[in-house]
């Protein structure tokens, strides 16, 4: 090597070398850093943790599987195997010979098979050549034909040979098998025994993450793409796309990446497991599970029991979905692969990190736990130790447009697809929530497009005749604070609210001023209302008896829709306290609370109202109970006794002139100059000023949204539109100074506002004025949404609906209840809900609010669950239009009111019942005509079963049948002669067989109990017929069976046959004439869209005996 030449350098080369070395090393380090940074992702921890849990469980199960019994059997089999091989060794020569023979034949077979196949291939080719040569008229056509036939014959030969060789080979095989069979049997048996352990150990290897295990190696950085064990799981949903500002982007749900077990049963929480196992057990006991699934269900219950007994509870995110039968599960209606997760829950679909996924805390506590983190990483990323403490590194992500619904608001997600439905199947929470929204009439002030009802009436009463009804003094006090008059009223409090007078948030001086202004506004509103009121003169009631009146009110059914008390006993403390709406069923809040009604109004008004509510205003929701004049007088007398004198004693401050002036002027100067406004005001009298201010105040508070008020017709609702409120960005909600703050509501509950939309809405509903706290605002700019005094539960429900109203759209075909069939049913459901049928009846399994006011359950109005299957459609139609056409249960005090349905409405309801009761089609069985023999047998059975003990069988006037004369209310039963007009032919026998299954707790005794083992019906007569007591019946019956005793006995043990006979008898004694409801007597036409059945004439005219049952009409959409 040459000596080096010295050269000048700017920097010391050796120092540069050192820097080079150091920086290269640093480069290696940061390259490693990049790899590590990319490799370590939060979701991996969740998967590793789940694999650990799986390992634990598999090991446990393996221990169970390796039971002693199995070990013993295995040992025996090993012994057997050893013997077998010894045996084989002894006959080794024979076995070897057989094997050799087989090997040779196998070779032959292979050759023969190949020859055959090749020949066939040649033949196919030849066939083509032949055909071609014929078609193309080639010269060698005949030659080719001959060749083809030659090959064909050859192939046939080869086939014969192949068959022969195959036969020989099979025989040789059988020869060997006799030697191997025993060994193979033993092996099979062993496999069977170890099957479960083998399977488990195979499963174990799939979740094994031990160092240098296959999984571990495949999970190392840079190798993790080969066959990843830990990987992102996703569901791509092209048709449930995300609307990204007018672009449809496929939804890619990756939730399963962390929520590993969401679709795998067996990882439920303990509480869920308890609930599920109980549910399943009940179903099992009630024979609601098909025979072939029973074993499976039992196994599942056992699994759930094991979960409950396990030492550790499974925590989120590893839990199974609690409603697998409804969501996520592959057999459910919302399977994971079709629906994913974020369609319902919302959240960021593609996210793989906790915060970015859009998880929303439900409470401040949850929020704090989620957000807590080790100071070690300065909050850059959460560590496994954070995860282990369930600190997920949460940070509010302002960039997520669809944050998840927090717990307690889950069912808000249903609205997206089920918005048109009245009741969401198994969505009890959302069903109740939407009802609550309707109860409070949120829709009146807040426009909600596409709400399920488009024709909701204004929730408040018409105020056009307020002067006929009450006095200004009462009205003033009422508007001031409706809850002072009735604690359960739905009329909200507009005045003297938190942002006006609460000393904790309003300075004292402003407070005094506010009170003056509020007083003035109320006076003004009252003045306006009474100024514009009509003054019709109502007829005065006759002398009434308050005692009788009370009895009527309590018995005819008023209590289905009305409450008559303000005091309830608190369930927890046992103390008497003021009632809340929530203390009563929703249905009983339909009408107003009757307390104090005497203080509020006068006798003439009450009298006319109860007699005919529609006379006061046409839209009045109250139906007519057909009270006679005397009854109405009695009721009036009673209602007048309901006084609340204390209410009228509160002082009324006269309106402050200056306040009225200031307020009125405030409105006037919007359009007039200050001078003009002053002069205009001077030109008005005090009263005129008040009326002017009243008009403006009604406009300000939007009273007209809920009440009909003269001069405000056709105005737009006052509140914010809620159609897509749930999609509104969080930053558009004005939290004022209440973000992440606690506050105390008037009911003493401390609430906490957290920075989420549901929390904002909830708190707004709890007290609409809190976001004004500590803000400086002009009087008219202060929040004015009234206070409904909602309980936490009510507020939560309404908030759930509000956050569920989003702009997210799903394709039409994914919307629930949009097909013609469902729409028909929904239409009926709407009517049921609108007319509050559930106040008295059970419909869709819910309702009968009146039950709490009727002591004896035997006097309750009927359960309509099976009504569709039960009632003949023409009857139902007539009855709905005019309930007086038939009195089925004359002993009932409760009256079916007259709703004045028009034909369309009645038709809708009939359709609904027919469909909802699974009675499928409109009934057409009225013409059934039983044979006399059947009737006779039926009569005997009827007697034997002592049906007549309760049921009358003598014809009666359907409009006024006598009340059964019995002291025992449990034996009250309808007169059976009415059955033929009312009940469906095929339903009668079904009902007799299983009354308790149709209406649990019915008075009708179960005569044909089910056999626990088979689930079939048993007949009590099977044995009884042979007893001496029944000898007489037996002798009567025998001739009817042509003396065939065997046949008789068989029939007596056949519940289905017996009930059919009973039905025939009942049918035969039925009367066939009934008054038709409407003069035109239109029976319901089929409301199904594709079919138009000619309307049946009045039932009476139609009941000709020679007509057989017309088969049910099928078809129609959705069937």
């Amino acid at each position: 090597m040459k000596p080096q030449e010295p050269i000048p350098h700017n920097y010391s080369i050796s120092r540069l070398n050192l820097i080079f070395a150091l920086s290269s090393l640093a480069l290696v380090a940061v390259t490693g850093l990049v790899v590590g940074y990319d490799y370590i992702r939060g979701w991996k921890w969740f998967q590793l943790e789940f694999m650990r849990m799986q390992r634990e469980r598999i090991v446990q199960e393996m221990q169970v599987a390796k039971s002693e019994e199995n070990t013993k059997q295995l040992a025996a089999l090993d012994e057997q195997e050893r013997k077998n091989s010894l045996e084989l060794a002894r006959h080794r020569d024979q076995y070897m010979t057989a094997q050799k023979a087989f090997d040779a034949l196998e070779g032959d077979h292979y050759r023969a098979d190949q020859d055959y196949r090749f020949a066939k291939a040649n033949l196919d080719a030849q066939r083509y050549i032949t055909e071609a040569s014929v078609v193309q008229h080639r010269a060698d056509a005949a030659q080719q034909q001959a060749e083809y036939e030659r090959q064909s014959a050859h192939l046939a030969d080869l086939q014969v040979r192949l068959q022969e060789v195959t036969r020989q080979r099979d025989a040789a095989k059988a020869n060997i098998d006799q030697w191997l069979k025993k060994i193979k049997d033993a092996e099979d048996k062993k496999k069977e025994l170890t099957a479960s352990v083998d399977l488990l150990s195979k499963q174990l290897t799939t979740v094994d993450m031990g160092r240098f295990s296959t999984n571990w190696i495949l999970s190392q950085p840079m190798l993790d793409f080969v066959n990843p064990v830990i990987k992102i799981d996703q569901v791509v949903l092209n048709d449930l796309s995300i609307d990204m500002n007018y672009m449809n982007v496929p939804r890619v749900d990756r939730c399963q990446t962390c929520h590993r077990a969401i679709d795998t049963p067996g990882w439920e929480s303990k509480a869920e497991a308890a609930r599920l196992s109980q549910e399943l057990q009940q179903k099992l006991d009630a024979y609601q599970i098909p025979q072939e699934k029973r074993a499976e269900t039992e196994e599942r219950i056992a699994q759930l029991k094991r979960i409950q007994d396990a030492p550790n509870d499974t925590l989120n995110p590893w839990r199974t979905h609690p409603k697998l039968d409804l969501y996520v599960g592959s057999a459910s209606v919302h399977p994971l692969l079709e629906y994913g997760c974020t369609v319902c829950h919302r959240g960021q679909d593609r996210a793989t990190e906790f915060g970015r996924a859009g998880h929303t805390p439900a409470s401040p506590r949850m929020e704090h736990r989620w957000a807590e983190r080790t100071p070690l990483t300065a909050g850059f990323f959460p560590l496994p130790s954070d995860f282990a403490q369930r600190h997920w590194g949460y940070e509010e992500n302002e960039f997520i447009e669809t944050p998840m619904y927090p717990r307690h608001y889950y069912e808000a997600g249903c609205i997206k697809c089920h918005s048109s439905q009245i009741a969401v199947d198994r969505g009890d929470d959302i069903t109740k929530a939407t009802q609550t929204v309707e109860l409070y009439g949120c829709y009146a002030c807040h426009k909600i497009n596409n709400w399920r009802f488009s024709d909701l009436r204004k929730p408040g009463p018409d105020l056009g005749g307020i002067a006929e009804k009450t006095t200004p003094e009462w009205a003033f006090r009422w508007i001031s604070e409706p809850h002072n008059f009735r604690s359960t009223t739905r009329m909200p409090s507009f005045f003297y609210q938190r942002n006006m007078i609460d000393p904790s948030v309003v300075p004292p001086q402003e407070r005094t001023h506010n009170i003056k202004l509020q007083d003035a506004e109320i006076h003004a509103i009252v003045s306006y209302l009474f100024d514009k009121s009509t003054h019709r003169v109502w007829q005065q009631p006759g002398a009434g008896d308050a005692g009788r009146g009370k009895q009527i009110v309590n018995s005819v059914g008023c209590m289905g829709c009305h409450i008559d008390t303000e005091q309830v006993k608190d369930e927890k403390s046992g103390q008497i306290r003021l009632a809340k709406r929530e203390d009563f069923p929703l249905e009983r809040n339909y009408g107003f609370n009757l307390t104090g009604v005497g203080t509020k109004t006068n006798s003439a008004w009450i009298y006319n109202w109860v007699k005919n509510p529609k006379s006061y205003y046409a839209e009045a929701p109250m139906p007519s109970l057909r009270l006679t004049d005397q009854e109405a007088s009695d009721v009036t007398a009673f209602l007048l006794t309901l006084q609340k004198p204390s209410f009228m004693k509160t002082a009324i401050r006269p309106p402050d002139r200056q306040a009225v002036h200031d307020l009125a002027k405030g409105y006037l100067i919007n359009t007039l100059s200050d001078r003009d406004a002053e002069s205009k005001l001077r030109s008005m009298s005090d009263h005129e000023q008040l009326v002017y201010l009243g008009q403006r105040s009604i406009e300000k508070y939007g009273c007209y949204s809920c009440h009909n008020i003269k001069g405000f017709e056709g105005l737009k609702p006052i509140g914010t539109e809620l159609t897509v409120e749930g999609s509104k960005a969080l930053h558009l909600f004005d939290f004022g100074f209440m973000n992440e703050e606690k506050w105390k509501n008037e009911d003493g509950v401390t609430e906490h506002v957290i920075h989420t939309v549901p929390s904002w809405v909830y708190n707004k509903l709890r007290n609409p004025r809190i976001y004004d706290d500590r803000r400086t605002k002009v009087y008219n700019d202060k929040l004015k949404m009234p206070n409904f005094h909602l309980t936490p539960e009510e507020a939560r429900r309404i908030a759930m609906v509000v956050v569920g109203l989003t702009k997210e759209k799903v394709a039409e075909n994914r919307m629930a209840g949009l097909d013609a069939h469902t729409r028909l049913i929904e239409e009926g459901r709407k009517r049921v809900s609108q007319h509050n049928c559930r106040a008295c009846h059970v419909v869709d399994g819910r309702g009968r609010a009146i039950a709490s006011t009727i002591a004896d359950a035997n006097f309750l109005p009927p359960d309509l669950s099976p009504e569709g299957a039960r009632a003949q459609s023409p009857f139902l139609f007539n009855f709905l239009k005019d309930p007086t056409v038939m009195k089925i249960r004359p002993w009932l005090g409760v009256r079916m009111p007259t709703f004045h349905f028009d034909d369309h409405e009645a038709n809708t309801l009939v359709t609904f019942f027919a469909e909802a009761g699974k009675g499928a089609q409109f009934d057409t069985t009225r013409g059934a005509n039983p044979s006399p023999a059947n009737v006779k047998i039926g009569q005997q059975v009827f007697t034997m079963l002592r049906c007549a003990q309760c049921h009358g069988t003598t014809p009666v006037n359907p409009e006024n049948p006598p009340t059964p004369n019995t002291a025992d209310s449990t034996s009250l039963a309808p007169n059976l002669t009415l059955a033929r007009l009312r009940l469906r032919h095929d339903w009668i026998s079904d009902w007799i067989r299983r009354p308790n299954e149709m209406i649990p707790g019915t008075r009708m005794p179960t005569n044909f109990p089910r056999d626990a083992a088979t689930g079939g019906f048993q007949s009590p007569l099977a044995l009884a017929i042979d007893t001496p007591q029944f000898a007489q019946y037996k002798s009567t019956l025998l001739p009817l069976f042509n003396g065939n005793e065997k046949e008789l006995k068989r029939t007596m043990s056949d519940a289905v046959a017996l009930t059919d006979y009973l039905r025939d008898y009942i049918w035969s004694i039925g009367i066939t004439q009934m008054r038709s409801a409407s003069p035109t007597g239109d029976a319901p036409a089929m409301a199904m869209p594709q079919q138009s059945l000619p309307p049946a004439t009045a039932p009476a005219a139609k009941s000709t005996r020679n007509q057989r049952a017309i088969p049910a009409v099928s078809g129609g959409a959705g069937r």
Partner: protein, 190 residues
Amino acid sequence: MSDEITPYQMVPKTPLAGSAAADIREQGEITRRSFPVVLTAAWVALAAALGGMSAVLLRFLFPNVLFEPVQKFKAGLPSDYSVGEVDERWKDKYGIWIVRTEEVVYALITVCTHLGCTPNWLPTQNKFKCPCHGSGYYKSGINFEGPTPRPLERAKIFIDIADGQIVVDKSKQFHQERGEWTDPEAFIKL
């Protein structure tokens, strides 16, 4: 450029430039004698870093998630398939033939094992025939003619306990030549 080198002379003309003189101490004769440990380490480290980055680039080419058609799908109930027929209803969507025989149901992947074309099912000749190079397969998927070296592959198939439907999972494949067709997941026993 000439390769004549003027030997470096630092003439500090000003005190300012003098500070530069301190930087130029190196005359090039110090380190070259022995093995340059530092330099070698530096180069090795640089090579390692570049190697690492190349690996990163390579890994970058393999996404962690695929947006291909789903590998696993539900194929209805076994009774939806008639015995002895090759069912082509999933061919276009998922690339699967479902074959039901007297005893079993199995799923064949519609990829020719020769060069990846899609064969056609010819019911009249009772065979799969690949249009590209003429490979032929029996209904069982066994090859019998043409250039293909091995039978068609079968996909994992099983019954979902929850609803009794057939589930086909294409991500797991079974090769006959490896004796995998006897695997219980390669067919459903009826």
